[in-house]
Amino acid sequence: MLKFITTRVLLSFLTLLIILAVVTLIPNVAPGDPARRIAGPTASFERLAAVRESLGLDDSIPEQLATSFTSLFTADFGTTFNDSSVTVSELIRAALWNSSKLVLLSLLLMLPLSILGGVVAAYKKDSLLDRIIVNVGVALSSVPDFVGGVLFLALFAVPFSFFRVTAAAPEGSGIFTQARFLLLPALTVTMVYFGYIARVTRASTISALESDFARTAFMKGMSTRTVFTKHVLRNSLLPTVAVVGTQLGFMFGGLVGLELIFNYPGLGRLILTAVVDADYPILRGGVVTVAIIYMVATLAADLVIAWMNPRARLALTE
């Protein structure tokens, strides 16, 4: 077990270094000059050179990589280009916290709904209900999150004051108020993922239900309901866990459109702003953070799967 985790962590770390190297090298090939933008269009060459020097833009490529890699270990990505009094770490911490709240609420809505949908569809396979769940799921998944977000705004936030157009609750709000503000973006995430996760759950539930061990359970004289709860679900949720694990990273860093529409200061928006402003320290810190979330989430999913599947679990502990 320990060996498995160590290998995985070391491999993840290697991947992280490669990602970091790529992000670090971007400014060398990207158009535009952050120094020019900070110093203003009328700044003298001396002024520009000084700004460039202070931002570390003149460093050689090995020097840039060395700085980046060090920052990974110290978790200190320096200050932003725009404002030297604001550290990147502070910005990321705040954005990460916001994203976590959105992801958590989305998961709370999405997982029960889509798993239930998938299981019901499997149980009522080929029925009208099954077809509705599968087809509505596909239809909803094919709507981009930002389009869905706008739709929800128009449908809910405009006529009902319970729903808010912005996702960020005022400073110092309680947990329920915050949840209320986050409800629409979380519903949008649920809408996007429902079809996907429900379909994965449906497929694996059907195969577990048609398996020989489920047949054995039926032949023991078990009711359909007990067969589901005691034999089918444990086997059929494995693929669902794997899918959720791989999607988690995306939900942290990829909901850019949604965060923009609901004016929510999450990680995705932070990274987008960093790209637009050519604020490389934020970009580096943000990308590394999302990469780490990806890796932790997939590793966690693998461990959960191993825990649910004795064959994998025993292979790991041996």
């Binding site: 020989d212 004289g221 009711s223 034999h231 444990r234 649910m308 064959r311 025993l314």
Partner: protein
């Protein structure tokens, strides 16, 4: 169809309602909205305490009948007519709750593949205990105690530790015992076994069958046994029904049906298996021409009409009556009086085919797999030689190293340094990839499963042309001509050449696989269980084909099989393997005349005999030892019934000559090997 009722004797056991009564059962599968008949009026009774067998080729509806007995239908299956009842209760009209209770308390089932039949993520103990919990009135801890007792009852040695394990940690034979333990939890009146030993080793099979027999005596449960292996039915059942295309065509006691078959189909089935020590030099096996009609085919008269050798116009126009042949024996045939006209297979010319010149030799070959945690000697100093046109049968339990030997000969595995595979006395390169064309051509393989051995997106023609090109170097039109010629030799017709594997039946696919192997005129063909996935009638055709090819082109075979009857039919010599060693090497006559190695003796005694000859069963306790950790001295001493303390567990015996080249790896003398002293096994 109530005619059978009068034929059934009213014995003591027949008092009260039948444990299972199936009356004129008709079932259909709904395919694209259309019902397709799969059972066409099945009628039989299983009386309390009786064991009733159903035999027939795959697709005849016997498993469908078995599942219908517990009213478990596939989602597209419908009972269209008839009645199923058990203990006087009508199953066809039972409600959901009632059916659950019936399955929980009165009837149980044992399945074909025990590995799939248990839940992979739950511990054994929990799954067995669950069967007791479903009986009601049992607390959780009581159910676990009962589960432990149930495992003791099915002769599992360490029930506590087995309960703590997960399915993947147990062998197939062990899991089948677990499944039987679950089935017996309710002390059922009816036990349905659907191919319970198919896929298990012969030795494990006989242990499981012994257990079922023993438990049947103990519980008095009625048994419905489904098997395609006629020997299993003969040794296990009182009465048997022969099924064809969804109908029982003959029924009677096992002795009546197997010794005086009265339906042409039964006779054909029995003629297609090698019985009474038949060998390839005696005569061919009978292969029923044609194939089973597909489900849903309209068969208004006799179901067997299209394949029957004694068919007349009457058979096409009138449904055959049930003809009583005795008190318990009946057949459904117009011409039961002409049953002797069913042609016997042709005698083969007895020619001495084997030429002593060695084509391929296996000289001192060992194979050690290097793994974490130590070396695994999978093959230990194997010496074998193949004469021209000779068949060497290779037998042994799973895990004895048969396939490893085959793969090493083919160059898939590289033997350890010092051993060599020789072609006409000259060593070949050890790896297939470094062998020259001549070496590759000279040794080819036929696999167990033609589905995965043939490229499914290629036509048969392309598969064969490719093999011809690879093996002989010819190309273009010449390769095509050769491919057509090879296909013809395999009795494949032109029209099969442009089909893809999935359009062919199992038997035809295996012919294509054999054609592929023969494309380059090989000297030796390694056949790894080539017929074990096939029905007996198709198996007969393949065995006939192999034997006739051998007569014509003098190919040698290494024939790996777990079916001793088939090996006896085809092999000139037999090699017996155990834990990577050859423990016996002798001609087929020598092996069956004895004396033999104690392991061979146990293997031979494990075969369920279709001829009904009582065999003195020698049980093999436990599992075959892992080659990673072989026992000291003679590797077989841990399971040997002739074990000599202080000798066998200390020194490994030599493979020595017991006369006329009969090689046996044993310390004992000829006289001691001849003594038949089966070890008593408690409870059996």
């Amino acid at each position: 169809m109530t005619i059978t009722d009068g034929l059934v004797p009213k014995t003591a056991a027949n008092d009260g309602p039948a444990a299972l009564s199936v009356k004129d059962l008709e079932m259909a599968y709904i395919v694209r909205g259309e019902p397709r008949a799969v059972l066409r009026g099945v009628t039989f009774d299983v009386r309390p305490g009786e064991a009733y067998g159903l035999v027939g080729e795959s697709g005849c509806g016997k498993s469908t009948t078995a599942y219908a007995a517990l009213r478990y239908l596939p989602s597209n299956g419908r009972i269209t007519a008839g009645k199923i009842s058990s203990g006087g209760r009508d199953l066809t009209s039972m409600g959901k709750k009632e059916l659950q209770e019936f399955r929980a308390t009165e009837a149980s089932m044992v399945y074909q593949d025990p590995v799939q039949a248990v839940n992979p993520v739950l511990k054994i103990g929990r799954q067995v205990a669950e069967s007791f919990q479903l009986l009601g009135n049992v607390s959780k801890s009581e159910s676990y105690d009962l589960a432990e007792q149930a495992l003791v009852r099915v002769q599992i040695a360490a029930p506590k530790s087995v309960m703590e394990r997960y399915p993947h940690q147990l062998s197939g034979g062990m899991l089948q015992r677990v499944v039987i333990a679950m089935a017996l939890a309710s002390d059922p009146q009816l036990l349905v076994l659907d191919e319970p030993t198919t896929g298990l080793d012969a030795t494990v099979e006989s242990e499981v069958l012994d257990l079922v027999r023993h438990l049947r005596d103990e519980t008095g449960a009625a048994i419905l046994l489904i098997a395609h292996n006629l020997g299993v039915i003969r040794t296990m059942c009182d009465r048997v029904g022969v099924m064809y295309a969804g109908r029982i065509v003959e029924e009677g006691t096992v002795d009546e049906v197997f010794d005086q078959p009265s339906h042409p189909y039964t006779k054909g089935l029995l003629n297609s298996i090698p019985r009474h020590g038949l060998t390839k030099t005696d005569r061919e096996l009978f292969s029923i021409p044609g194939t089973l009609p597909q489900i849903g085919t309209s068969l208004p008269t006799c179901v067997y009409v299209d394949r029957c050798p004694i068919v007349t116009d009457k058979c096409h126009s009138e449904a055959p009556p049930v003809v009583g042949k005795g008190f318990t024996h009946w057949t459904r045939c117009h011409h039961d009086d002409r049953i002797d006209e069913v042609p016997e297979p042709a005698d083969t010319e007895a020619i001495d085919n084997v030429v002593d010149t060695e084509v391929i030799g296996v000289d001192g070959v060992s194979k050690t797999f290097r793994q974490r945690g130590g070396d695994v000697p999978a093959l230990v100093s194997i010496n074998l030689g193949f004469g021209v046109g000779e068949t060497l049968g290779l037998v042994g339990e799973s895990g004895s190293g048969k396939s490893t030997l085959a793969k090493t000969m083919l160059g898939v595995h590289e033997p350890d340094v010092g051993g060599a595979i020789t072609l006409r006395g000259r060593p070949m390169a050890t790896k297939a990839t470094s062998r020259n064309e001549e070496s590759i051509r000279s040794i080819q393989m036929v696999f167990q499963n033609p589905d995965s051995a043939l490229n499914r997106s290629w036509t048969v023609r392309r598969i064969l042309i490719r093999a011809v090109e690879k093996l002989t170097g010819v190309s273009g039109e010449e390769a095509n001509e050769r491919a057509v010629e090879v296909a013809k030799a395999m009795q494949l017709s032109e029209r099969h050449l442009d089909m893809r594997p999935r359009q062919l039946s199992g038997g035809l696919k295996q012919r294509v696989a054999i054609a592929r192997a023969f494309a380059g005129d090989p000297d030796v063909v390694v056949c790894d269980e080539p017929t074990s996935a096939l029905d007996v009638s198709v198996q007969a055709a393949i065995l006939n084909l192999l034997a006739s090819l051998q007569r014509d082109v003098k190919t040698s075979y290494l024939f790996i099989s777990h079916d001793i009857g088939v090996v006896r039919y085809l092999a000139d010599r037999i090699a017996v393997m155990y834990v990577g060693r050859i423990v016996e090497l002798a001609t087929t006559e020598q092996v069956f005349a004895g004396p033999v190695h104690p392991y061979t003796e146990a293997l031979l005694s494990a075969v369920p005999n279709v001829d009904g000859e009582a065999s003195n069963r020698i049980p093999l306790d436990g599992d075959i030892p892992s080659p990673a950790n072989p026992p000291s001295g003679c590797v077989f001493h841990t399971r040997c019934h002739k074990f000599v303390d202080g000798l066998c567990d200390v020194t490994e015996p030599e493979l020595k000559d017991f006369g006329d080249g009969h090689m046996i790896k044993c310390h004992l003398e000829r006289e001691q090997l001849l003594i038949i002293t089966p070890k008593e096994k408690a409870g059996i």
